[in-house]
Subunit: 172 residues, 2 copies
Amino acid sequence: MSEQKSKIAAGLEREFAARGFAEPSVEDLRDASGVSLRTLYKYLPSRDEMVYAALEHRHHRYLAHIFDDLEQGQSETLNTVIERIAEWMKKEASHGCLFHSAVAAAPADDRLRNLLIRHKAEIADKVSRIANLPGKQTDIILVLEGLTQSWPLQGQAAVDSAKRLCTSIGQN
Amino acid sequence: MSEQKSKIAAGLEREFAARGFAEPSVEDLRDASGVSLRTLYKYLPSRDEMVYAALEHRHHRYLAHIFDDLEQGQSETLNTVIERIAEWMKKEASHGCLFHSAVAAAPADDRLRNLLIRHKAEIADKVSRIANLPGKQTDIILVLEGLTQSWPLQGQAAVDSAKRLCTSIGQN
DNA sequence: GCCTAAGTAGAGGGATTATTCTACATCGTC
DNA sequence: GACGATGTAGAATAATCCCTCTACTTAGGC
């Protein structure tokens, strides 16, 4: 991914996150990406491509935010992940997961759905390995999905619930 | 709500559930509702109103599906709720919660967001009262949200996880 | 100083959109 | 059998959409 393409993708990600995937017109996306319409279409030759590029960019930023400098195998590793997710929600995703939003906006788009699946699978894999709970992938996903989904409604209380529920995962 | 209006709403709900909120044109919605364009606009004078009516209809059907003939206070009540949610997902919501989809498609619409909040609050209230766990609302919501959100990705494994996690809610 | 590559600004095409409007059909009731 | 309410079918409108295109500018390498 070239310098400029990722700069464009960053702007697109911000716009889609703020206004959803249906509302912004291509002209809005041009303004958000900070380049001309011609350049925008040169790097991303259709509106769909703009969506994909934004999500790709999101994916990398999210992984970096959750996993950078995360110590493996500590007993509080899972709590740290939960806190970092809460941070992320507060700063970046007050409306919930951007991947789910994208799929919700276009349920027929298989490429989009695959992006969502790979995104979630990579997170689940990384978390279960780093927290030393290899058999508990589905439990972990359920709690983390529940957290991102209920945080917009419940705020900090959701974080506390997630931590409480996680203590029971390791216990059987 | 008149006879015909709820017949229209039922058709709209089906269409939005199948194709999302952005894709279907008003002509598609006309076909799905089974009436003429003029009649459709008579009962629901804008496309937004069609969305609201569809969600209202969904809300009532969902509550009926989850709570009809549900025995209060049994120890397996929560498990029954989980199983009914799984049933619902399988039959009706293979793409996830329709309310979240609607909000995702139009994040700026406050009326839509309020509909989502009231929908979730009513469920949380009903479940916590019927399962005799009045202090555990946020735990319950988190698990149920996690279930609906991870079911499209994990299927039956998500149901098992939800049940397992629920056993730990009552225990402290 | 010229040339190529890569950018900007912005007009416009062609398709689709939500909504309104006209003209006609049906049906129960008096 | 006439009438008013309520329906249908579908054309018309005005706006908006995604995308392409032309014409002009900038910047760096030889």
